[in-house]
Symmetry: C2
Subunit: 278 residues, 2 copies
């Protein structure tokens, strides 16, 4: 993979789309965008053990490599990189990357070590493929900021691109984990997107107070029995610092368990603007 990518990199622009597989329309939109930006497009599929906690869903994370490979081929992927865990983390492996501040709070609080695992594996993939640009989905907004910061801090010389969340009909953010949901859970999960839309409406109507905004939205979510809120927070869109008054672009980020499935979503709230972007 390294040798092939080195040759491609010399001939033109090279894009990487790192994924954990079980591809959905969100991934395909990243591949499509990367395809349009580069001469060569590499996708990776690696369900990275280092970003799962001990009680999380590593073992049952959905996998379908045959279907994924067909989708990648159709999307114009030039090479699909699917390393084994033993290749990425051989015996004696002990090097970890941390992006300290951006990894605090939100998913970093709910999933200790998660962003350390994410940053480390993405750095490894970037070092193997050495793309000119790498494309990530903005559903994982905190992840996008962590990776962008890492790339800048470590002088990687790679462009990190975040692309808008793709949604199912009804508004549920695309996620490989949606496959875990029962029909009832899928119905109740829509409240996450509804809460974000409600926030966009309230902000468009002049709401600026974070506490009053989040209290109202938490009330909406609490009405659904199958949905247990993990967090719903307004954070600065660049630094992820807590925001009490919306006077600069902020991300409203939400995470919840729907049944046994953990889902996340977010929207960008810009004071004076009517709609979110992510």
């Amino acid at each position: 993979m390294r040798t092939r990518c080195r040759a491609w990199r010399r001939e033109g622009r090279l894009a990487l789309v790192p994924t954990m597989g079980y591809l959905h329309a969100g991934h395909l939109s990243l591949l499509e965008w990367g395809r349009g930006q580069a001469d060569r497009l590499v996708a990776s599929i690696f369900v990275n053990p280092a970003q799962f906690g001990p009680s999380e869903d590593l073992a049952r994370y959905p996998r379908d490599l045959e279907r994924d490979a067909a989708l990648c081929e159709k999307a114009g992927v030039d090479a699909l990189f699917c390393p084994e865990a033993e290749e990425m983390y051989p015996a004696g492996y002990q090097t970890w990357v941390e992006v300290t501040e951006l990894s605090q709070g939100l998913c970093g609080a709910s999933r200790p070590g998660h962003f350390r695992g994410v940053a480390t594996v993405v750095l490894k993939l970037l070092n193997i493929v050495r793309p000119h640009l790498a494309v990530f989905g903005l559903k994982d907004y905190q992840q996008y900021l962590v990776i962008r910061r890492m790339a800048a801090d470590l002088d990687l010389g790679v462009e990190i691109v975040g692309r808008p969340t793709v949604r199912e009909e009804g508004g549920l953010a695309m996620s490989s984990r949606n496959t875990y949901l029962s029909p009832e859970e899928r119905q109740e999960a829509l409240v996450l997107r509804e809460a974000l839309r409600e926030a966009e409406r309230l902000v468009a109507a002049g709401e600026r107070d974070a506490a009053s905004l989040t209290t109202r939205l938490k009330g909406l979510i609490a009405a659904r029995h199958r949905v247990r809120l993990d967090y719903l927070e307004l954070r600065d869109a660049g630094s992820l610092e807590a925001v009490s008054c919306l006077d600069a672009p902020a991300v409203l980020a939400v995470a919840a368990r729907v049944g046994a499935t953990r889902l996340i979503d977010n929207t960008l709230l810009v004071p004076g603007s009517a709609a979110g972007k992510a």
Copy 2:
């Protein structure tokens, strides 16, 4: 620097010798070796704040850029990279690399955070220069192992080379910090090398027990009033795990304060072999 090195890398082999400046014969031996191995040779001088503890000698660390530049030119260095701390760690910087196991103990115990700072800055330098090989001195043996492990774990595709310690007449290991020593301290500091030589003799004579070896050497060092031992330990030469019986190559590593100056040295002990290598 990145642009120039990218062009050089395409034309032939590129070597990097990272230093903190105030060059001595040890550095020059690294430059000479790099010069012989590569078509282009880059040296860096950066007194890296991230690898100094709050009570350490960052502010008074010796600097003489003019002299260093002349020495580099004479050594055939093609480019000398001397970034400012504000360029390497701009406001908002927050990404750190840790090599967890090899950074434990020895200098990692005496200098908390030291190897995190070393690994991070070396990764940044490697990412900017992207050399085919990078050359380090084996006086900093633990540092060499940490960097070599990081390069392998993070798939950097760079060769990490360790070169033998260069010594002053009398045997004191070359170090920029030797300039701190008074004539009396310099004389007493020789006991560190004497202890390592004594260890080599004892091992050649059949000694295999780590405790009896280190007890004897500590006695030698304790006889010098100006020398306060930090550590003297026998560790596996590859993993740095503690060794109780010398049945595989091991490093005998020593650190001590001589007056106010912290010095380190080491030797490689190979059972069945008469002399150390580092």
